[in-house]
Symmetry: C2
Subunit: 435 residues, 2 copies
């Protein structure tokens, strides 16, 4: 993996943060049963080196508190200043095991999302220095190098380093062909754009039609605010998409366990492809009870699952049929590789959460790596796509015929345009100053 740039000695010399917020609540984009008025935001970090490189990363939030999230990123400054990106396994673990900061979680919430932002920025930097898109850089690591990136603590009852190595070695066969396949064909996507709660039926109908025309193989509807509304909207979507088209539903944690079972069973005639976040992301046993109570409708969750330990239990309990990892909530690339391996160990497909600010840009790299080097399959797998805010990114996702095209620029696709950062900086950027 070592390139000429990496052999030259260099150091990270600056950690710069930005509190970036988009006034999305003005348009009801992104509204759901639990989040009626989000202002999509990024607690954004730039790591600069003494030889002119910069790594970008961020935590996604939905408005208030983005300043707290930014402060948490700054609290990690001492871990990266003076460092390089040669050993991101060790550096990741150092941050997770800072015993004083760990008390603020452990491994959850604001402090863990801060680690995610910094870890992802380090990977962006590493991939840029290597001159490769992150998915390809990861895919070219050896099984042993990948295992070294992972923190197996609290996993060894279901996944040991040896078992991880076995999964990765098995996937070595055909990896080259799969890399070429990704470059040619990309990775399948589904779209949530039609399904936000704030939209009227005409807009829903129009957006469903557009999703079909754009070649997406699945859509998703937000549900959970009002059952009659959900039935009406699901009927509209079925009318446009047809009886067999995969339509998932997403409750965004709205229900208690008994309510989830009743509500989803009421929607069963519309054949939901999965039900997402039916209850609290912390409720492993609740998800298992819901899965039992609504079968055969599959349960999916993950965007708010705090770390690998909760994913481990969701899999152990047979509570979920889809792992919806998020690129920027758990401890960044490193912890997400552990989650990909857990999913592979249990034979459960990963269909990542995306949307927000830049989550599509990031997570495509993880799914492509999963196909190339971990699970070795795209079967029953799709990456969420939402057509928000991509114009602010230097290397935005490219969707072709309902699929993510493989990123080819070096890095993790995390960098935003300087003008976008300046305009949306809270509270002094022009977007907010004028509001």
């Amino acid at each position: 993996m070592t390139t000429p740039q990496e052999q030259k000695s260099y150091r990270i010399v600056e950690l710069e943060t930005h509190d970036i917020r988009f006034p999305t609540s003005r348009e009801l984009d992104g509204s759901d049963a639990m989040n009626p008025d989000p202002d999509y935001s990024a607690a954004y970090v730039v790591l600069k080196t003494d030889d002119g490189y910069a790594g970008h990363g961020f935590a996604f939030t939905i408005g208030r508190g983005n300043d707290v999230q930014t402060a948490a990123i700054s609290a990690l400054e001492s871990y990266v200043i003076g460092r390089d990106v040669e050993d991101l396994g060790a550096l990741y673990k150092e941050m997770v095991y800072d015993s004083q900061l760990r008390w603020l979680g452990p491994e959850k919430g604001v402090m863990h999302m801060a680690i995610s932002a910094v870890v992802n920025a380090l990977w962006d930097l590493k991939a840029k220095r290597a001159g490769k898109p992150l998915w390809l850089l990861l895919s070219e690591l050896t099984p042993e190098q990948i295992v070294d990136l992972i923190d197996f603590r609290y996993l060894s009852d279901v996944l040991t380093p040896e078992q991880a190595l076995e999964i990765l070695k098995k996937a070595e066969k055909g990896k080259g062909e799969r890399v070429e396949h990704i470059k040619r064909e990309g990775y399948p996507a589904y779209t949530t754009s039609p399904g936000w709660l704030g939209y009227d039926d005409d807009k829903l109908r129009r957006l469903c039609k557009e999703a079909l025309d754009a070649g997406f193989g699945q859509i998703k509807l937000k549900v959970g605010a009002d059952l009659d509304d959900d039935i009406r909207r699901f009927r509209v979507a079925r009318e446009v998409c047809g009886a067999d088209f995969p339509i998932a539903i997403d409750a965004n944690q709205r229900w208690d366990v008994p309510a989830a079972i009743d509500w989803v069973n009421a929607l069963k005639p519309f054949n939901p492809h999965w039900v997402e976040e039916p209850t609290s992301p912390d409720d492993v046993l609740g998800h298992a009870a819901i899965a039992e109570g609504i079968k055969p409708i599959p349960v999916a969750t993950g965007e708010h699952v705090q770390n690998r330990i909760v994913f481990k239990q969701l899999l152990q309990a047979g509570a979920i049929s889809y792992v919806q990892l998020d690129s920027a909530r758990v401890g960044g690339v490193n912890e997400n590789i552990a989650i990909l391996l857990l999913a592979a160990r249990f034979g459960i497909p990963v269909c990542p959460h995306a949307g927000g600010v830049g989550l599509c840009e990031l997570v495509q790299h993880l799914s492509m790596f999963d196909y190339a080097a971990v699970s070795g399959t795209m079967e029953n797998r799709v990456i969420e796509y939402v057509d928000h805010l991509h114009e602010h990114f230097v290397d935005p996702v490219v969707i072709v015929d309902g699929r993510y095209a493989a990123p080819s620029s070096p890095g993790f696709s995390a960098a935003m345009h300087p003008e976008s950062i300046a305009a949306h900086t809270f509270p002094d950027g022009e977007i907010w100053r004028d509001a």
Copy 2:
């Protein structure tokens, strides 16, 4: 509950925060297998009213990141400015369901501990205005008033408002006598002071002897760094305390599931009273597997359990025999009342976590309320006691013959001396300026 002061119109006009840190790492007080060098800290909040009252609260941290925690408390300012403390059920839920801030958890980590600090400060204010210690104020509420304080979301599969009401109504009988009993006898304590990892055997022996002489009915040893050391230290403690004296052990999340089972079974000959935090606080199924693998040794956990939803599952899974709630990690008094009710519903004793900065001062009120108005029993129940830092509190805990004496001053015992706050403010207080 309305007092003359409360009838007069007033408003909270100021939320003031302080980043307070004690340099405890210099002495190894508080060191354990996961936290070798804590600087016990408080992200401290004062709510001031326009008629001269002040409510105090705090989140406990162990050093770095206390600034992030303080910033999170400030993010809640808009919820309390201009408000009173008439309806703390509603105000608590407003903060928990701020949809934008909720994204930073939900209900976990930095943002949830910030809610805890503010909610507890509101209760301190309410109790001061009522002229009563908090435990007594809570004990005098009606079952209906208590139920109104609770957020039952995500609990209704095991605890409905009706079931909570039933528990509370049953405890109405004899409540007056139990209140008098608390005033006379206080509440039993155990001490962790002998057991920190940084102490040598002579100090361990001396502190065990002192614990017995002080009348404590239980002690606790930190374990998990080195098995041979643990065996030697447990043997020393048994020599001093005798074969039948309750000695609990605490691993502070050190182990994976298989390691926990092996390690605790190796200590079985010393008859641990309970094993505390054997693994990740997030691992409900792991705790259940450990409980099965080490029986009949009971498992205890709670100081890092993020919210009522995880406690619910630990109880559902039969994973723990003791609920060790913490006064300042979950959403303050309100969520802790829900946790007391969950424990009562499952018939599991609550033995709270304490120590740190001011956690003893706070949590005694919750256990006394539990005895008076919820579980109605002190059987097999003890509150942790650590003899650190009480001198900084205006109304410090009083231990008499190994028991917490009932607080009689109005409030939640949360206020620190202004001189202590000034001296320990980070980084400009004299303690840190001179370091």
